[in-house]
Amino acid sequence: MSTRDWLLADSPTSRWQANAGRTYRVFTALLRNPLSVLGGVIILVLLLTALFAPWIAPFSPTGQNLSQRLLPPSGVNWMGTDELGRDIFSRVVWGSQITLTIVLLVALISAPLGLLIGAIAGYFGGWVDRVLMGFTDIFLSLPKLILALAFVAALGPGINNAIIAIAITSWPAYARIARAETLTIRNAEYISAVQLAGGGPIRVIVQHILPLCTSSMIVRVTLDMAGVILTAAGLGFIGLGAQPPLPEWGAMISRGRTFILDQWWVATMPGFAIIIVSLGFCFLGDGLRDVLDPKSEGKS
């Protein structure tokens, strides 16, 4: 029996085989869509760049060299140099670590938070549901970027506070999804079986409801990552996110603003990095949605 047959078996003999088979099916379905393959490749490149930044970047991201100021892109400085003579390509490469950190932390804080709130609201119903969802809806009906800006203003500028502010503004969407999913499975027979076997609410929610929310959650989180990157870059651009000399892409664009008319590369190059990575998440998220959660097309 080949590996492929084992993966696609109609009656898997273990939970591990079933999971592996499902992952394999999703993976092959993704491979059929060229845009999602492109997205996956972009994310992979981002991961590798962040991991191997010290070996990829030809120059130091912070080392200044005032005799090499504002050089246009060339064979040596692929993206030119900035006003302090730093190599922009090296800074963009190192900046990938910051972007990846922001994206991962925001996802790790806001998705579980939203999941938990939504699942609790959906599982218990009644006034718990009304209070939690009322709270969620208020957050949902407020502008995200503005709220994040106000939070950062109160917390103080800096990358950690930017991450907290973005996470605070992104959990409500996840809570809504988790609640909707929970409502559809709350009365399923296998849940009643667990309850009859003596499973308490915590066990039902954590072991039997949350796992079923993961696929729609993965789709939504991937699609949202582009927005998170843009918000983080926006905070950096305004001067409230990552502080110099950190090579954060938004902050780099902000530094290049002064030179946009003559030395266009200083502001333009980091922008391309932002666009490519965000597009990567969009492509991948779109493809994942088509495979995992086709009904939600259009509900952005």
Partner: protein, 357 residues
Amino acid sequence: MTTEQPALTSPPPEKLTSKRTRRQIGAVVTFLVTLFLTFLGLLAITFFIGRVIPIDPVLAVVGDRATQAQYNAAAAAMGLDQPLYVQFVNYVGNVLTGNLGMSVSTGRPVAADLSRFFPATFEMATLGILIGVAIGVPLGVIAAARQGTWLDQAIRVVGLLGYSVPAFWLGLVGLAIFYARLRWVGGPGRLDIFYDGLVTPITGMILIDSLVQGEFDIFWNAVWHIVLPASVLGFFSLAYIARMTRSFMLDQLSQEFVTTARVKGVPERVVIWRHAFNPIRVPLITVIGLSYAGLLEGSVMIETVFSWPGIGNYLTTALLNADMNAVLGSTLVIGSVFIVINKVSDVLYRVLDPRAR
């Protein structure tokens, strides 16, 4: 016969209307209550941001160079000696009476500042949404009609670019290309410097004020300056609108009545624009409303890039000066407009769509 006994076949007309009126009144009350609660939630959040998060809110207002006497006076004036819920009630009262505090950076009341800066933002966002609708809707319809072709894919990528391009970057690149290189549009600001202050503000929107006063030179100069920021802003609503239009259209085009129309030999153009497009106009209104609200938010970044004297610019200046009253005031105004547009487009949807009534 039939005119004598209408009551047997259908309920008396006045009873029907009263039932419907009652239901409508109920809907209006629910609407107002949710609107009120959402607004209260917004106030709670700004209150939380302004009073609870900062370790010392007094210091955040008076700055660290204030004397102890000034500090104590400010603390008393802010009512910080009172319990938190009293402070919140006072805060809500102040906001409702239009008192948003003083701005540290401009030295004027925040409410006055905001009403001075709001028209510029409104003008740009409105032009932006017009551009977005004028281009986005046809693009979405075309993409749906040509589903799966390269044209559809191209429009899809344009739509996704709207989610992946930083607004401030697009503004900067636009300035570098269309203003610095090509000289097709005006630079930052609402007018060239020598036109500044020539029109008396009536609505505060230069495009309207200059037309009303017959200052056509100024009008064209204002157009020259607003085209680029409004287009950049419009691009982002365009992306969203085109995407949603496409998905609504695909839903319609797969319906049986569309197949019937096609089988009957109705021209494709009529099938698309009449049979398929007409039913989606109502959900589109909600989409347009939502993206309009989103543009108010997007204008924060654009205004910073284009030195546009609107609320966004005011907000970012305040952010950098840690001018909390101004920050919270702007958040409150943008948030309220956002909430109102959100809720109103939701209601419009219910009023206009017979199925949701």
